[in-house]
Symmetry: C2
Subunit: 272 residues, 2 copies
């Protein structure tokens, strides 16, 4: 999917919501466990209930990988079920030497047909560029993550001007790909940093996890992170898909997604 | 596998060779393509031919993931075929927020039964510690990698004493786990750095990729990297498994592995 199609969808749906499909067999309603593929049965109903309120789905690959080969089947079925106009993110955090990153790119962009993949920056340019060689496919590079451990290395000062490592990752990587193919992960739990990030990456889309279970504020993220195209995909996983643990889980997920969408429409009204 | 068992195996086999199973359908001998599972058929013969010369096998997970669900079947069969006394490394370079890293740990340590997994450090402590909660399982943390892009971020100076990021990764992470459960990846292409790394991590095992196709020298790696327990696992992938593209591929792989093992026996003779 190209940037224009993504922005058009945001305008049409008045939403920049990404629904995280972190589907865990131990957390889904127990009545689904009798289904042939409980994970897909769960995802299908979540997608049916939330598709009108979101512009992206982000399956967290770990949750599928933990189930072995049948997890990959559930993932493939889920991906095929997502409506074509909705942006898809393989939250995989891959990254390896060039010939290996190329294999990962084939896995997620050819074997499966994701629009984008999250990639870890530690190994540098040749670990990222193989993912950038596919038309209308995106790399979403980890910059500043939402977890506690983000303080271990991402905030280290890497020059005499006090540039943080995550800022260096953003400025260095901008030469690897355009704003039409490269986004950054910036955690909602560090919303005040979004303003600084917009100073060095005004035009990139940012994928923002951490609203909800991790404690980030949608209002702050939107205030500090939006640009003229919106430029944000704000993810919520557990707050939507586990809004209810009972048979009404899909209805509850739809309502949780709608609540976020309605708040987003207000913020979008100020810029679009 | 615990450290003692690994060291005993190194002494017994007079080897610290790790064979990288980067098995690629487009590179294996064409006569294998008629097999029901060509990847497993290839790996099986490679393992039969090299097991007496190596102490570890390292499947590169990307190569299996790129084949979809059947790739995971091939990986599982390969893992089960590896003799139990040989150390196994899932070269997966995973790492995510805590609840997600826990799922990856389950995938590689429970769903499959790998002895170890490579992990990327960028997201910090809580992205790594879930992998350290399994008895006799190891994290192999990326420190200084063998690729060109390692110069983009890993060598950045992160304090006024000139500490490099990769050195900070090593010193910070030592509080997360013991030398019985934590190793580091240090590329053979930067062998002279091994001496500096031994000054800050004298007792850890180091996994050293990059000998062979990537140009690293086994002699230099051994000279600068060995400690009193050997403390090295030196990986060769393409130089062994693709030593011949013909029907004699397994025999050629065995010979290539034996050549490295014989050189290793000389260096081990100097310390053990």
């Amino acid at each position: 999917m190209n940037k224009q199609a993504l922005v058009e969808q945001i305008k049409k749906k008045q939403s920049y919501l990404c629904v995280g499909l972190d589907t865990d067999l131990t957390k889904i309603p127990t009545h689904l466990l009798k289904e042939e593929d409980p994970v897909f049965a769960f995802n299908k109903q979540i997608i049916d209930a939330t598709a009108e309120y979101c512009v992206a789905y982000k399956p967290n690959i770990a949750f599928y990988e933990a189930m072995g080969p049948r997890g990959w089947d559930s993932l493939q079925k889920t991906l095929e079920y997502i409506p074509k106009e909705i942006f898809t993110i393989a939250d995989a955090k891959r990254g390896d030497i060039g010939n290996t990153s190329k294999m990962y790119a084939q896995a997620f962009f050819e074997q499966m047909d994701f629009d984008s993949i999250t990639v870890a920056p530690y190994m540098g340019e040749d670990s990222v560029t193989p993912f950038l060689e596919f038309e209308n496919k995106w790399v979403i590079l980890l910059a500043l993550t939402s977890n506690k451990g983000s303080s271990d290395f991402q905030h280290l000062r890497v020059d005499s001007e006090g540039t943080a490592l995550f800022e260096r990752v953003i400025t260095t990587s901008q030469s690897w790909g355009s704003t039409e193919q490269l986004m950054y992960v910036v955690g909602a739990t560090q919303a005040q940093k979004l303003q600084e990030i917009r100073a060095i990456a005004p035009d990139h889309f940012l994928l923002v996890p951490g609203v909800g279970a991790q404690g980030g504020s949608l209002e702050e993220v939107s205030k500090y992170g939006m640009n003229k195209d919106c430029g944000l995909l704000v993810n919520s996983s557990r707050g939507i898909i586990y809004a209810s643990a009972k048979e009404d889980f899909a209805e509850a997920a739809g309502k949780a997604a709608q609540t976020l969408q309605q708040e987003m429409a207000v913020y979008l009204g100020e810029i679009l």
